[in-house]
Amino acid sequence: MRNRTDDNWLLRVRHLTKIYGEPDEHTLERTGPAHNSNICPETQSIVACAEIGFDLYPGEVLGIVGESGSGKTTVVRMLYFDVEKTSGAAWLRPYRNAAVNYLEESNQKKRFIRNHLMGMVYQNPRDGLNFRFSSGGNIAENLIMAGHMHVGAMRDRSSQLLIKTEVPITRMDDQPGSFSGGMQQRVQISKAIANNPPLLFLDEVTSGLDVSVQARVLDLVRELQRELGIAMIVVSHDLSVIRMLTDRTLVMKHGRIVESGLTDQVLQDPQHEYTQLLVSSQL
C-alpha cells in the first residue's frame, strides 16, 4: 500500500448528508447517536446520515459497519447516484483530477462516472442484474456503456470475467434467474468489474447467502482485490466480513460516524462504547 498523503487519495468525501422529510435548523442537533434516534422530534424528518467524511486511497479497502438504520448503505448509495444527496461533496481523482464535486454533475456526466470509474455489487442480485438478460448480456451491458461495440471481444472479456469469478462459462448465455444465490452474486461481481473501475462498492454482498457460500464469495472478493488492486468500500453489519476484507473501518450509528481507524485497531481496541458493544457481541 502506498503512502497516504494529502494529494494522492482516490476518493474524498466531506459533509455528506441525507435527510428525508422537511428538516429545520435544529434537526441535526436533535438526532444522532447521542439521542439514540434518526428521527427529528420536531419535524418528523429522518436523518439517514449526516456529516460523513473520509478519504479512500487507491487499492485501499474501507469498511463501513453498523446496524440497520446506521446509514451505511445510504452513504454508498449517494456516492453511486442511486440516491440524491441532501448536502455534501465528493471528489474522485480520476474524474477531472478531482477538480469538481462529482455529486453535482449533470445526469450525463454522472452516467459517465458510473460506467467508467465505478462498480457496484448490491445485496440483492435483482438490484444489480437485469434478469431478462443472460449473464453474458449483463456483463455486455456494462461494456457497451463504456463504448465497446464488438460482440466477439465482449464475449471473450465476459468469459474471462466469469472464469475469474468461478462461474461456469457454459452458463454465460443463461439468465441469472436459474442460478444459485452465490452464483448470482458472482455474476454481479463480474459485471461490476467489467470495465476495470478504480473503485468498487460492495453493499452487504454476502448477507443474503448461506454461510458456506458466503465464505467462497468473500474469498473471491479478497483475491480480486489483491490481483486487480481495486479500491473498495465494503458495507456490512458483520464484523467478521470487515475483519477479513478491509484495511480501514468506519463505525456508524444512527447516521453518524462514531469511530474510524485501521481495522485491526478498531476491532482490537475499540474506543467508542458502541463499537465496544458491537465487538463484544460479534467477535
Binding site: 422529510g21 418528523q44 462459462i169 457454459t170 454465460m172 448465455d173 443463461d174
Partner: protein
C-alpha cells in the same frame, strides 16, 4: 397489373361502402327519426357525446344512426366532426353547485342536505325483459305522459333545486386533505397538445372525461378488486344540467346555454407514511356528459388511484390507464391489424428461414458453447 389492380382496390372499397348501406337498410323498415334516437336511446346518445368529446345530442344521434348503433364508431364519427369545428372560446369553470339537480345521492351519509334524490335511475328496478315494449303505441305513450304530469305537485315546483355539496360539510370540519402545493396545476388542453408523462391533473381528468366507458370500468373495477390500493365511497353523485358561460371580447361573462352532466366525488382515506400524521380524506373527481353513472364513478376512483404512490397496481399507473382507455385510439389500433402486413411478415419470414438454415449448418459442424440435451 398496375391499372387493373388500382381499379380493383378502389372498386372493392366502393362496393363495401354500398354493402354497408345495404345492410343498414335491407329490411326496408321505416327510417329512424333523429328525434326518436335522441329521446328514446338517450343513454346511448349520452355515451357517444361523452366519448366523442362533443356536446351535441342531435349530431350524436345522427352518428348512432349512421353507424347502425355501434357506439365506438359513432363516437369516432363525432370526434372527427369535432376536428372541423373552430374553437371560439374556453368556458368559465362550470359551477356544479348551481346544478339543476335531477338526481343526487350519497353513499357516505344516510341523510344529506336536500335529501337523497334517486332521480331517473334503473338501479333499483328488476331487470326483467319487458316484451310489452315491443308493442308500444303512441297513444299509450301519450296516456302515460298525461297521468305522470298529473302527479306533479304544483306547489313544490317553485322550490330551490340547487344544493350545497356533501363535501362542503367535510371541508368545514377540516376532514379533507388540503391541496398539495407541489401538485402540478397546469391547465392543459389535450386536444391541442400531446400529453406527456407525468401528466398534470387537468390532463388526466380531460383524458378520462372522454375515455371509453368500458375501459374506465375495467380499470376502476380492477382497483376495487385487489389490484389496487384505493377503497372509495361515493361521497356524492349528481346528475342534472349546469349553465355554461363564456367571456365575451369585452370581458363580460355571458350565459350561452346549459349541458347535462353526471358528477361524482369519491371519498377515500389517505394512507400516510409519517407517524402521528393526521388522517384525512381525499376526493377523487369524475365528470362526464349526460347521464353515465359508471363512467363518472370510475373516473373518481381512478383520479385517486393515479395519485397514489404505490406503482404496482395497473390502475395506479397513469401511463397505463390513460393510454389504454382512449377508445378511439384503441379501436383504431387493434383493428389496424386487419390492414395488409405482408411485407412486415415477409421480413420476419426471411429472418426465421435464415436462423433455421444457420441452425442446421451449426448442427453439422459443432461449435463452442453449443448446448447438449441437458442444457450444459
Amino acid at each position: 397489373m398496375g391499372y387493373v389492380a388500382v381499379k380493383g382496390g378502389s372498386d372493392a372499397i366502393h362496393e363495401a361502402k354500398k354493402l354497408v348501406e345495404f345492410y343498414r337498410l335491407k329490411e326496408a323498415s321505416s327510417p329512424l327519426e333523429i328525434q326518436q334516437i335522441r329521446s328514446q336511446l338517450r343513454l346511448a346518445v349520452d355515451k357517444v357525446m361523452g366519448e366523442g368529446s362533443l356536446y351535441s345530442p342531435e349530431y350524436a344521434a345522427i352518428a348512432l344512426k349512421q353507424s347502425e348503433g355501434e357506439v365506438f364508431e359513432a363516437a369516432f364519427i363525432l370526434r372527427a366532426f369535432r376536428t372541423t369545428l373552430r374553437r371560439r372560446f374556453y368556458s368559465e369553470p362550470l359551477n356544479t353547485r348551481e346544478m339543476f339537480v335531477k338526481r343526487k345521492i350519497s353513499a357516505s351519509f344516510r341523510e344529506i342536505p336536500g335529501g337523497q334524490i334517486l332521480g331517473p335511475t334503473r338501479d333499483y328496478t328488476q331487470r326483467i325483459l319487458d316484451t310489452a315494449k315491443a308493442t308500444e303505441k303512441i297513444e299509450d305513450i301519450k296516456a302515460f305522459l298525461e297521468q305522470f304530469g298529473a302527479l306533479a305537485d304544483k306547489d313544490r315546483l317553485q322550490e330551490p333545486r340547487s344544493f350545497d355539496k356533501v363535501i362542503d360539510r367535510l371541508l368545514e370540519e377540516g376532514l379533507l386533505k388540503p391541496v398539495d402545493p407541489r401538485e402540478d396545476r397546469t391547465l392543459m388542453d389535450i386536444t391541442r397538445e400531446a400529453i406527456k408523462f407525468p401528466a398534470p391533473r387537468s390532463a388526466r381528468l380531460q383524458m378520462m372525461a372522454r375515455a371509453e366507458t368500458g375501459g374506465l370500468m375495467t380499470m376502476g373495477y380492477s382497483s376495487m378488486r385487489g389490484f389496487g390500493s384505493v377503497h372509495p365511497t361515493v361521497g356524492e353523485l349528481r346528475y342534472g344540467h349546469v349553465a355554461v358561460r363564456v367571456k365575451d371580447p369585452s370581458g363580460r361573462v355571458r350565459y350561452i346555454g346549459h349541458v347535462e352532466v353526471t358528477e361524482v366525488e369519491m371519498i377515500s382515506s389517505v394512507s400516510h407514511s409519517k407517524k402521528n400524521a393526521i388522517p384525512q380524506y381525499t376526493i377523487g373527481y369524475g365528470l362526464c356528459f349526460g347521464q353515465n353513472d359508471t363512467k363518472a364513478i370510475c373516473m373518481g376512483i381512478l383520479d385517486t388511484s393515479m395519485r397514489t404512490e404505490d406503482p404496482t397496481a395497473p390502475a395506479n399507473d397513469q401511463e397505463f390507464v390513460l393510454n389504454h382507455t382512449e377508445g378511439i385510439e384503441g379501436m383504431g389500433f387493434t383493428n389496424h391489424l386487419k390492414l395488409p402486413h405482408y411485407v412486415t411478415f415477409q421480413s420476419g419470414l426471411s429472418n426465421i428461414r435464415e436462423a433455421i438454415r444457420r441452425n442446421r449448418a451449426k448442427a453439422s459442424i459443432g461449435k463452442p458453447f453449443a448446448k447438449d440435451q441437458s442444457g450444459n
